[in-house]
Symmetry: C2
Amino acid sequence: MFGISFIGAGNVTWHLAPALEAAGYPVGEIAARNANNAAEIIRHLYDARIVDSLDFSRSRANIFIIAVPDDIVPEIAQNAAFPPDAIVCHTSGTLPLTVLKRFPKRGVFYPLQTFTKGRPLDLSAVPFCIEAADAGTEKQLSTLARSVSRSVHLMDSEQRKALHLGAVFAGNFTNHLLALSKRIAEENNLAFDLLKPLVAETVAKALAAQDPATVQTGPAVRRDEQTIKRHLQALRKHALWRKIYRLLTESIQADLPR
Amino acid sequence: MFGISFIGAGNVTWHLAPALEAAGYPVGEIAARNANNAAEIIRHLYDARIVDSLDFSRSRANIFIIAVPDDIVPEIAQNAAFPPDAIVCHTSGTLPLTVLKRFPKRGVFYPLQTFTKGRPLDLSAVPFCIEAADAGTEKQLSTLARSVSRSVHLMDSEQRKALHLGAVFAGNFTNHLLALSKRIAEENNLAFDLLKPLVAETVAKALAAQDPATVQTGPAVRRDEQTIKRHLQALRKHALWRKIYRLLTESIQADLPR
Protein backbone atom coordinates (compact mmCIF):
# COMPACT_ATOMS: atom_id res chain seq x y z
CA MET A 1 0.00 0.00 0.00
CA PHE A 2 1.24 3.48 -0.90
CA GLY A 3 1.04 6.72 0.95
CA ILE A 4 0.37 9.75 -1.20
CA SER A 5 1.25 13.40 -0.89
CA PHE A 6 0.03 16.24 -3.05
CA ILE A 7 1.75 19.39 -4.17
CA GLY A 8 -1.02 21.84 -4.92
CA ALA A 9 -4.42 22.36 -3.29
CA GLY A 10 -6.56 23.25 -6.29
CA ASN A 11 -9.53 21.61 -7.97
CA VAL A 12 -7.70 18.42 -8.95
CA THR A 13 -6.39 17.74 -5.44
CA TRP A 14 -9.82 18.63 -4.02
CA HIS A 15 -11.29 15.70 -5.98
CA LEU A 16 -8.40 13.22 -6.08
CA ALA A 17 -7.13 13.31 -2.51
CA PRO A 18 -10.34 12.20 -0.76
CA ALA A 19 -11.16 9.69 -3.52
CA LEU A 20 -7.74 8.02 -3.38
CA GLU A 21 -7.80 7.95 0.41
CA ALA A 22 -11.26 6.36 0.33
CA ALA A 23 -9.81 3.77 -2.07
CA GLY A 24 -7.18 2.84 0.50
CA TYR A 25 -4.25 5.17 -0.16
CA PRO A 26 -3.64 7.33 2.90
CA VAL A 27 -2.81 10.95 2.15
CA GLY A 28 0.17 12.31 4.07
CA GLU A 29 1.01 15.88 3.16
CA ILE A 30 -0.61 18.59 1.10
CA ALA A 31 1.79 21.33 0.11
CA ALA A 32 0.06 24.59 -0.76
CA ARG A 33 0.89 28.22 -1.19
CA ASN A 34 -2.63 28.96 -0.07
CA ALA A 35 -3.19 27.27 3.30
CA ASN A 36 -6.94 28.01 3.18
CA ASN A 37 -7.38 25.89 0.08
CA ALA A 38 -5.43 23.07 1.70
CA ALA A 39 -7.45 23.40 4.91
CA GLU A 40 -10.67 22.85 2.97
CA ILE A 41 -9.25 19.66 1.53
CA ILE A 42 -7.79 18.10 4.68
CA ARG A 43 -11.18 18.41 6.35
CA HIS A 44 -12.17 15.54 4.06
CA LEU A 45 -9.07 13.50 4.88
CA TYR A 46 -8.19 11.26 7.78
CA ASP A 47 -4.75 12.33 8.90
CA ALA A 48 -3.23 14.63 6.29
CA ARG A 49 -1.29 17.72 7.21
CA ILE A 50 -0.58 20.97 5.44
CA VAL A 51 3.03 21.82 4.66
CA ASP A 52 4.48 24.96 3.15
CA SER A 53 7.86 23.55 2.19
CA LEU A 54 8.81 21.54 -0.88
CA ASP A 55 11.26 19.43 1.13
CA PHE A 56 9.60 16.02 1.29
CA SER A 57 12.85 14.14 1.85
CA ARG A 58 11.63 12.84 5.21
CA SER A 59 8.04 12.19 4.10
CA ARG A 60 6.64 8.69 4.58
CA ALA A 61 4.65 8.94 1.35
CA ASN A 62 5.94 7.06 -1.66
CA ILE A 63 3.85 8.67 -4.40
CA PHE A 64 3.94 12.43 -4.93
CA ILE A 65 1.33 14.00 -7.16
CA ILE A 66 2.13 17.46 -8.50
CA ALA A 67 -1.25 19.05 -9.24
CA VAL A 68 -0.50 22.70 -9.96
CA PRO A 69 -0.88 24.98 -13.00
CA ASP A 70 1.31 23.85 -15.92
CA ASP A 71 3.63 26.82 -15.82
CA ILE A 72 4.63 26.15 -12.20
CA VAL A 73 5.47 22.45 -12.63
CA PRO A 74 9.05 23.01 -13.91
CA GLU A 75 9.85 25.26 -10.96
CA ILE A 76 8.51 22.68 -8.53
CA ALA A 77 10.40 19.89 -10.26
CA GLN A 78 13.53 21.96 -9.83
CA ASN A 79 13.09 22.85 -6.17
CA ALA A 80 11.33 19.95 -4.50
CA ALA A 81 13.14 17.16 -2.67
CA PHE A 82 11.61 13.69 -2.44
CA PRO A 83 12.68 10.42 -0.81
CA PRO A 84 15.07 8.52 -3.11
CA ASP A 85 12.63 5.77 -4.08
CA ALA A 86 9.54 7.92 -4.47
CA ILE A 87 7.34 8.03 -7.54
CA VAL A 88 6.88 11.62 -8.69
CA CYS A 89 4.13 12.42 -11.18
CA HIS A 90 2.29 15.40 -12.59
CA THR A 91 -1.35 15.72 -13.65
CA SER A 92 -0.94 17.87 -16.75
CA GLY A 93 -2.41 17.16 -20.17
CA THR A 94 0.21 19.11 -22.07
CA LEU A 95 3.48 18.83 -20.18
CA PRO A 96 5.79 16.02 -21.30
CA LEU A 97 7.03 13.39 -18.92
CA THR A 98 10.56 14.78 -19.33
CA VAL A 99 9.70 17.84 -17.25
CA LEU A 100 10.26 15.47 -14.30
CA LYS A 101 13.56 14.09 -15.62
CA ARG A 102 15.34 14.76 -12.31
CA PHE A 103 13.37 11.90 -10.76
CA PRO A 104 14.15 8.30 -11.70
CA LYS A 105 10.62 7.05 -10.95
CA ARG A 106 8.68 9.70 -12.85
CA GLY A 107 5.23 9.49 -14.31
CA VAL A 108 2.11 11.24 -15.50
CA PHE A 109 -1.25 10.80 -13.83
CA TYR A 110 -3.62 12.88 -15.98
CA PRO A 111 -7.34 12.72 -15.28
CA LEU A 112 -9.16 14.03 -18.36
CA GLN A 113 -11.99 16.01 -16.82
CA THR A 114 -12.94 19.51 -15.78
CA PHE A 115 -12.70 19.65 -12.01
CA THR A 116 -14.54 22.13 -9.83
CA LYS A 117 -14.11 22.34 -6.11
CA GLY A 118 -17.31 21.44 -4.31
CA ARG A 119 -19.09 20.06 -7.38
CA PRO A 120 -19.78 16.31 -7.05
CA LEU A 121 -18.24 14.25 -9.83
CA ASP A 122 -18.32 10.57 -10.77
CA LEU A 123 -14.60 9.78 -10.89
CA SER A 124 -15.25 6.18 -11.93
CA ALA A 125 -15.96 7.28 -15.53
CA VAL A 126 -13.09 9.74 -15.77
CA PRO A 127 -10.31 8.61 -18.14
CA PHE A 128 -6.93 8.52 -16.41
CA CYS A 129 -4.00 8.81 -18.81
CA ILE A 130 -0.86 7.15 -17.47
CA GLU A 131 2.72 7.42 -18.62
CA ALA A 132 5.92 6.47 -16.81
CA ALA A 133 9.65 6.21 -17.36
CA ASP A 134 9.79 2.58 -16.23
CA ALA A 135 7.46 -0.41 -16.17
CA GLY A 136 7.25 -0.60 -12.37
CA THR A 137 6.14 3.01 -12.01
CA GLU A 138 3.69 2.58 -14.89
CA LYS A 139 2.18 -0.39 -13.11
CA GLN A 140 1.91 1.38 -9.78
CA LEU A 141 0.29 4.47 -11.28
CA SER A 142 -2.13 2.31 -13.27
CA THR A 143 -3.12 0.45 -10.13
CA LEU A 144 -3.61 3.73 -8.34
CA ALA A 145 -5.83 5.05 -11.15
CA ARG A 146 -7.85 1.86 -11.31
CA SER A 147 -8.66 2.20 -7.63
CA VAL A 148 -10.93 5.14 -8.49
CA SER A 149 -11.72 4.76 -12.20
CA ARG A 150 -12.64 2.02 -14.65
CA SER A 151 -11.16 4.04 -17.54
CA VAL A 152 -7.36 3.84 -17.31
CA HIS A 153 -5.20 4.30 -20.41
CA LEU A 154 -1.50 4.14 -21.13
CA MET A 155 -0.35 6.80 -23.58
CA ASP A 156 2.79 8.72 -24.43
CA SER A 157 3.29 12.47 -24.10
CA GLU A 158 2.43 13.15 -27.78
CA GLN A 159 -0.88 11.32 -27.55
CA ARG A 160 -1.75 12.97 -24.28
CA LYS A 161 -1.02 16.38 -25.79
CA ALA A 162 -3.32 15.57 -28.73
CA LEU A 163 -6.03 14.43 -26.35
CA HIS A 164 -5.70 17.62 -24.38
CA LEU A 165 -6.04 19.59 -27.62
CA GLY A 166 -9.21 17.62 -28.42
CA ALA A 167 -10.41 18.48 -24.92
CA VAL A 168 -9.95 22.19 -25.61
CA PHE A 169 -12.26 21.90 -28.63
CA ALA A 170 -14.76 19.58 -26.93
CA GLY A 171 -14.75 21.30 -23.54
CA ASN A 172 -13.34 24.83 -23.37
CA PHE A 173 -14.52 25.98 -26.80
CA THR A 174 -17.94 24.37 -26.40
CA ASN A 175 -18.37 26.19 -23.11
CA HIS A 176 -17.46 29.46 -24.83
CA LEU A 177 -20.06 28.92 -27.56
CA LEU A 178 -22.66 28.43 -24.85
CA ALA A 179 -21.52 31.68 -23.24
CA LEU A 180 -21.89 33.47 -26.58
CA SER A 181 -25.34 32.00 -27.20
CA LYS A 182 -26.42 33.30 -23.80
CA ARG A 183 -25.28 36.80 -24.74
CA ILE A 184 -27.02 36.66 -28.11
CA ALA A 185 -30.26 35.60 -26.42
CA GLU A 186 -30.02 38.20 -23.68
CA GLU A 187 -29.27 41.05 -26.09
CA ASN A 188 -32.72 40.31 -27.44
CA ASN A 189 -34.38 40.08 -24.03
CA LEU A 190 -34.58 36.32 -24.17
CA ALA A 191 -33.56 34.06 -21.29
CA PHE A 192 -30.66 31.63 -21.77
CA ASP A 193 -33.01 29.02 -20.26
CA LEU A 194 -34.79 28.86 -23.60
CA LEU A 195 -31.67 27.36 -25.20
CA LYS A 196 -30.93 24.79 -22.52
CA PRO A 197 -33.17 21.92 -23.72
CA LEU A 198 -31.63 22.31 -27.19
CA VAL A 199 -28.10 22.13 -25.79
CA ALA A 200 -28.88 19.07 -23.70
CA GLU A 201 -30.46 17.24 -26.64
CA THR A 202 -27.76 18.30 -29.14
CA VAL A 203 -25.00 16.97 -26.91
CA ALA A 204 -26.88 13.79 -25.98
CA LYS A 205 -27.42 13.12 -29.68
CA ALA A 206 -23.80 13.89 -30.60
CA LEU A 207 -22.45 11.57 -27.91
CA ALA A 208 -24.85 8.77 -28.87
CA ALA A 209 -23.98 9.03 -32.57
CA GLN A 210 -21.27 7.02 -34.28
CA ASP A 211 -19.83 10.42 -35.24
CA PRO A 212 -21.24 13.87 -34.36
CA ALA A 213 -20.64 14.91 -37.98
CA THR A 214 -23.39 12.53 -39.09
CA VAL A 215 -26.01 14.31 -36.97
CA GLN A 216 -24.96 17.84 -37.92
CA THR A 217 -27.96 20.12 -38.48
CA GLY A 218 -28.46 23.81 -39.17
CA PRO A 219 -28.13 26.29 -42.03
CA ALA A 220 -24.44 25.54 -42.76
CA VAL A 221 -24.89 21.83 -43.47
CA ARG A 222 -28.10 22.55 -45.43
CA ARG A 223 -26.25 25.20 -47.44
CA ASP A 224 -29.13 27.51 -46.59
CA GLU A 225 -27.49 30.71 -47.82
CA GLN A 226 -30.55 32.86 -47.14
CA THR A 227 -30.54 32.04 -43.44
CA ILE A 228 -26.76 32.39 -43.19
CA LYS A 229 -27.05 35.86 -44.73
CA ARG A 230 -29.77 36.85 -42.26
CA HIS A 231 -27.67 35.60 -39.34
CA LEU A 232 -24.57 37.51 -40.48
CA GLN A 233 -26.73 40.59 -40.83
CA ALA A 234 -28.03 40.09 -37.27
CA LEU A 235 -24.41 39.90 -36.06
CA ARG A 236 -23.35 43.15 -37.78
CA LYS A 237 -22.53 44.87 -34.48
CA HIS A 238 -20.28 42.02 -33.28
CA ALA A 239 -17.30 41.68 -35.60
CA LEU A 240 -15.74 38.83 -33.63
CA TRP A 241 -18.92 36.76 -33.33
CA ARG A 242 -19.50 37.30 -37.04
CA LYS A 243 -16.04 35.94 -37.79
CA ILE A 244 -16.77 32.91 -35.61
CA TYR A 245 -20.07 32.35 -37.42
CA ARG A 246 -18.38 32.55 -40.82
CA LEU A 247 -15.46 30.33 -39.90
CA LEU A 248 -17.49 27.57 -38.25
CA THR A 249 -19.93 27.66 -41.17
CA GLU A 250 -16.98 27.29 -43.55
CA SER A 251 -15.59 24.44 -41.47
CA ILE A 252 -18.94 22.59 -41.41
CA GLN A 253 -19.21 22.99 -45.18
CA ALA A 254 -15.59 21.99 -45.85
CA ASP A 255 -16.43 18.30 -45.71
CA LEU A 256 -19.73 18.38 -47.53
CA PRO A 257 -20.05 16.94 -51.02
CA ARG A 258 -20.10 19.81 -53.52
CA MET B 1 -61.44 21.13 -30.23
CA PHE B 2 -59.35 21.63 -33.36
CA GLY B 3 -58.41 19.25 -36.08
CA ILE B 4 -54.87 19.62 -37.38
CA SER B 5 -53.25 18.93 -40.71
CA PHE B 6 -49.55 19.00 -41.52
CA ILE B 7 -47.75 20.03 -44.66
CA GLY B 8 -44.45 18.19 -44.58
CA ALA B 9 -43.51 14.76 -43.22
CA GLY B 10 -40.06 15.41 -41.82
CA ASN B 11 -38.58 15.27 -38.33
CA VAL B 12 -40.81 17.99 -36.87
CA THR B 13 -44.04 16.39 -38.04
CA TRP B 14 -42.75 13.00 -36.90
CA HIS B 15 -42.60 14.33 -33.34
CA LEU B 16 -45.45 16.87 -33.27
CA ALA B 17 -48.25 14.99 -35.01
CA PRO B 18 -48.48 12.02 -32.61
CA ALA B 19 -47.88 14.25 -29.56
CA LEU B 20 -50.65 16.70 -30.49
CA GLU B 21 -53.03 13.90 -31.33
CA ALA B 22 -52.30 12.26 -27.98
CA ALA B 23 -53.07 15.63 -26.37
CA GLY B 24 -56.52 15.61 -27.95
CA TYR B 25 -56.10 17.26 -31.35
CA PRO B 26 -56.99 14.78 -34.09
CA VAL B 27 -54.70 14.88 -37.10
CA GLY B 28 -56.52 14.91 -40.46
CA GLU B 29 -54.15 15.10 -43.40
CA ILE B 30 -50.42 14.89 -43.88
CA ALA B 31 -49.27 16.36 -47.16
CA ALA B 32 -45.92 15.03 -48.31
CA ARG B 33 -43.82 14.86 -51.43
CA ASN B 34 -42.37 11.66 -50.05
CA ALA B 35 -45.24 9.30 -49.26
CA ASN B 36 -42.93 6.87 -47.45
CA ASN B 37 -42.06 9.47 -44.83
CA ALA B 38 -45.73 10.24 -44.35
CA ALA B 39 -46.59 6.55 -44.13
CA GLU B 40 -44.14 6.15 -41.24
CA ILE B 41 -45.88 8.95 -39.40
CA ILE B 42 -49.51 7.97 -39.92
CA ARG B 43 -48.76 4.56 -38.46
CA HIS B 44 -48.60 6.42 -35.14
CA LEU B 45 -51.85 8.30 -35.76
CA TYR B 46 -55.46 7.30 -35.35
CA ASP B 47 -57.17 8.30 -38.56
CA ALA B 48 -54.84 10.55 -40.59
CA ARG B 49 -54.46 10.20 -44.32
CA ILE B 50 -51.68 11.07 -46.73
CA VAL B 51 -52.42 13.62 -49.43
CA ASP B 52 -50.24 14.77 -52.29
CA SER B 53 -52.14 17.94 -53.12
CA LEU B 54 -51.90 21.34 -51.46
CA ASP B 55 -55.62 21.94 -51.94
CA PHE B 56 -57.01 21.73 -48.41
CA SER B 57 -60.08 23.84 -49.20
CA ARG B 58 -62.39 20.95 -48.30
CA SER B 59 -60.37 19.75 -45.28
CA ARG B 60 -62.13 19.48 -41.93
CA ALA B 61 -59.00 20.58 -40.07
CA ASN B 62 -58.88 24.11 -38.76
CA ILE B 63 -55.18 24.42 -37.98
CA PHE B 64 -52.59 23.84 -40.69
CA ILE B 65 -48.97 23.46 -39.66
CA ILE B 66 -46.40 23.99 -42.41
CA ALA B 67 -43.33 22.01 -41.28
CA VAL B 68 -40.99 22.01 -44.28
CA PRO B 69 -37.50 23.39 -44.98
CA ASP B 70 -37.43 27.19 -44.79
CA ASP B 71 -36.78 27.75 -48.49
CA ILE B 72 -39.95 25.88 -49.51
CA VAL B 73 -42.34 27.72 -47.17
CA PRO B 74 -42.91 30.72 -49.51
CA GLU B 75 -43.79 28.42 -52.40
CA ILE B 76 -46.25 26.50 -50.24
CA ALA B 77 -47.77 29.70 -48.93
CA GLN B 78 -48.30 30.75 -52.53
CA ASN B 79 -49.83 27.54 -53.81
CA ALA B 80 -51.80 26.00 -50.98
CA ALA B 81 -55.53 26.54 -50.49
CA PHE B 82 -57.06 26.37 -47.03
CA PRO B 83 -60.62 26.71 -45.66
CA PRO B 84 -61.48 30.41 -45.18
CA ASP B 85 -61.41 30.38 -41.37
CA ALA B 86 -58.33 28.16 -40.94
CA ILE B 87 -55.29 29.06 -38.89
CA VAL B 88 -52.14 28.64 -41.00
CA CYS B 89 -48.76 28.58 -39.26
CA HIS B 90 -45.17 27.67 -39.98
CA THR B 91 -42.56 26.11 -37.67
CA SER B 92 -39.48 28.07 -38.75
CA GLY B 93 -37.09 29.88 -36.47
CA THR B 94 -35.95 32.37 -39.08
CA LEU B 95 -38.88 33.07 -41.39
CA PRO B 96 -40.99 36.08 -40.46
CA LEU B 97 -44.71 35.82 -39.88
CA THR B 98 -45.29 37.90 -43.00
CA VAL B 99 -44.30 35.01 -45.25
CA LEU B 100 -47.87 33.83 -44.58
CA LYS B 101 -49.49 37.19 -45.28
CA ARG B 102 -52.02 35.66 -47.72
CA PHE B 103 -53.80 34.10 -44.76
CA PRO B 104 -55.78 36.26 -42.33
CA LYS B 105 -55.32 33.85 -39.38
CA ARG B 106 -51.59 33.36 -39.67
CA GLY B 107 -49.13 32.38 -37.01
CA VAL B 108 -45.80 30.85 -36.06
CA PHE B 109 -45.50 27.65 -34.04
CA TYR B 110 -41.75 27.22 -33.59
CA PRO B 111 -40.48 24.44 -31.31
CA LEU B 112 -36.88 25.24 -30.38
CA GLN B 113 -35.29 21.82 -30.46
CA THR B 114 -33.31 19.51 -32.73
CA PHE B 115 -35.72 16.84 -33.90
CA THR B 116 -34.68 13.42 -35.14
CA LYS B 117 -37.10 10.87 -36.47
CA GLY B 118 -37.23 7.82 -34.24
CA ARG B 119 -35.30 9.37 -31.36
CA PRO B 120 -37.49 9.73 -28.23
CA LEU B 121 -37.75 13.29 -26.98
CA ASP B 122 -39.37 14.94 -23.97
CA LEU B 123 -41.56 17.55 -25.68
CA SER B 124 -42.80 18.89 -22.34
CA ALA B 125 -39.53 20.81 -21.82
CA VAL B 126 -39.25 22.09 -25.39
CA PRO B 127 -39.80 25.86 -25.70
CA PHE B 128 -42.56 26.69 -28.18
CA CYS B 129 -42.28 30.19 -29.63
CA ILE B 130 -45.64 31.59 -30.68
CA GLU B 131 -46.47 34.57 -32.85
CA ALA B 132 -49.72 35.44 -34.58
CA ALA B 133 -51.33 38.24 -36.57
CA ASP B 134 -54.34 38.47 -34.24
CA ALA B 135 -55.08 37.81 -30.59
CA GLY B 136 -57.49 34.94 -31.26
CA THR B 137 -54.96 33.01 -33.33
CA GLU B 138 -52.26 33.73 -30.78
CA LYS B 139 -54.47 32.29 -28.06
CA GLN B 140 -55.35 29.19 -30.02
CA LEU B 141 -51.73 28.45 -30.93
CA SER B 142 -50.62 29.03 -27.34
CA THR B 143 -53.27 26.62 -26.10
CA LEU B 144 -52.16 24.09 -28.68
CA ALA B 145 -48.51 24.43 -27.58
CA ARG B 146 -49.42 24.18 -23.90
CA SER B 147 -51.12 20.86 -24.56
CA VAL B 148 -47.67 19.30 -25.11
CA SER B 149 -45.21 21.67 -23.41
CA ARG B 150 -44.90 23.67 -20.23
CA SER B 151 -42.56 26.15 -21.93
CA VAL B 152 -44.66 28.37 -24.22
CA HIS B 153 -43.46 31.87 -25.15
CA LEU B 154 -44.89 34.73 -27.16
CA MET B 155 -42.28 36.51 -29.24
CA ASP B 156 -42.06 38.54 -32.43
CA SER B 157 -40.20 37.60 -35.60
CA GLU B 158 -37.08 39.58 -34.66
CA GLN B 159 -36.75 37.88 -31.30
CA ARG B 160 -37.36 34.48 -32.79
CA LYS B 161 -34.65 35.10 -35.39
CA ALA B 162 -32.22 36.07 -32.64
CA LEU B 163 -33.12 32.97 -30.66
CA HIS B 164 -32.54 30.85 -33.72
CA LEU B 165 -29.15 32.49 -34.16
CA GLY B 166 -28.33 31.67 -30.54
CA ALA B 167 -29.41 28.10 -31.27
CA VAL B 168 -26.93 27.89 -34.15
CA PHE B 169 -24.11 28.76 -31.72
CA ALA B 170 -25.40 26.61 -28.87
CA GLY B 171 -26.48 23.65 -30.98
CA ASN B 172 -25.07 23.42 -34.52
CA PHE B 173 -21.66 24.91 -33.79
CA THR B 174 -21.27 22.96 -30.56
CA ASN B 175 -21.99 19.76 -32.45
CA HIS B 176 -19.35 20.69 -35.00
CA LEU B 177 -16.71 21.27 -32.31
CA LEU B 178 -17.47 17.79 -30.98
CA ALA B 179 -17.03 16.41 -34.50
CA LEU B 180 -13.65 18.17 -34.76
CA SER B 181 -12.53 16.92 -31.35
CA LYS B 182 -13.32 13.38 -32.48
CA ARG B 183 -11.15 13.81 -35.56
CA ILE B 184 -8.28 15.27 -33.51
CA ALA B 185 -8.44 12.32 -31.14
CA GLU B 186 -8.65 9.74 -33.89
CA GLU B 187 -5.77 11.20 -35.87
CA ASN B 188 -3.72 10.27 -32.82
CA ASN B 189 -5.20 6.79 -32.45
CA LEU B 190 -7.33 7.80 -29.51
CA ALA B 191 -11.02 6.91 -29.20
CA PHE B 192 -13.59 9.72 -29.11
CA ASP B 193 -15.03 7.87 -26.08
CA LEU B 194 -12.17 9.30 -24.01
CA LEU B 195 -13.60 12.80 -24.47
CA LYS B 196 -17.21 11.99 -23.70
CA PRO B 197 -17.15 12.28 -19.87
CA LEU B 198 -15.48 15.68 -20.27
CA VAL B 199 -18.16 16.86 -22.69
CA ALA B 200 -20.97 15.68 -20.45
CA GLU B 201 -19.50 17.39 -17.38
CA THR B 202 -18.59 20.61 -19.24
CA VAL B 203 -22.12 21.02 -20.53
CA ALA B 204 -23.76 20.04 -17.23
CA LYS B 205 -21.59 22.63 -15.49
CA ALA B 206 -22.27 25.32 -18.10
CA LEU B 207 -26.02 24.81 -17.90
CA ALA B 208 -26.01 24.81 -14.09
CA ALA B 209 -23.95 28.02 -13.90
CA GLN B 210 -25.41 31.49 -13.71
CA ASP B 211 -23.41 32.15 -16.88
CA PRO B 212 -21.15 29.68 -18.75
CA ALA B 213 -18.53 32.45 -19.00
CA THR B 214 -18.00 32.23 -15.23
CA VAL B 215 -16.96 28.56 -15.45
CA GLN B 216 -14.70 28.94 -18.48
CA THR B 217 -11.50 26.90 -18.14
CA GLY B 218 -8.56 26.10 -20.39
CA PRO B 219 -5.41 27.73 -21.72
CA ALA B 220 -7.19 30.74 -23.29
CA VAL B 221 -8.81 31.99 -20.09
CA ARG B 222 -5.61 31.27 -18.13
CA ARG B 223 -3.60 33.19 -20.77
CA ASP B 224 -1.33 30.16 -20.87
CA GLU B 225 0.62 31.20 -23.96
CA GLN B 226 2.97 28.22 -23.81
CA THR B 227 0.16 25.72 -24.12
CA ILE B 228 -1.58 27.77 -26.80
CA LYS B 229 1.66 27.78 -28.81
CA ARG B 230 2.01 24.01 -28.45
CA HIS B 231 -1.57 23.49 -29.57
CA LEU B 232 -1.18 25.69 -32.64
CA GLN B 233 1.97 23.79 -33.48
CA ALA B 234 0.06 20.49 -33.18
CA LEU B 235 -2.55 21.88 -35.59
CA ARG B 236 -0.01 22.93 -38.24
CA LYS B 237 -1.41 20.52 -40.83
CA HIS B 238 -4.96 21.78 -40.45
CA ALA B 239 -5.16 25.42 -41.47
CA LEU B 240 -8.89 25.70 -40.84
CA TRP B 241 -8.83 24.10 -37.37
CA ARG B 242 -5.89 26.32 -36.52
CA LYS B 243 -7.92 29.39 -37.49
CA ILE B 244 -10.79 28.15 -35.32
CA TYR B 245 -8.43 27.61 -32.40
CA ARG B 246 -6.98 31.11 -32.76
CA LEU B 247 -10.33 32.83 -33.19
CA LEU B 248 -12.08 31.12 -30.26
CA THR B 249 -9.04 31.76 -28.08
CA GLU B 250 -9.18 35.44 -29.08
CA SER B 251 -12.91 35.54 -28.34
CA ILE B 252 -12.49 33.94 -24.89
CA GLN B 253 -9.75 36.45 -24.09
CA ALA B 254 -11.69 39.44 -25.45
CA ASP B 255 -13.64 39.85 -22.24
CA LEU B 256 -10.87 39.13 -19.76
CA PRO B 257 -9.47 41.90 -17.63
CA ARG B 258 -6.13 43.03 -19.08
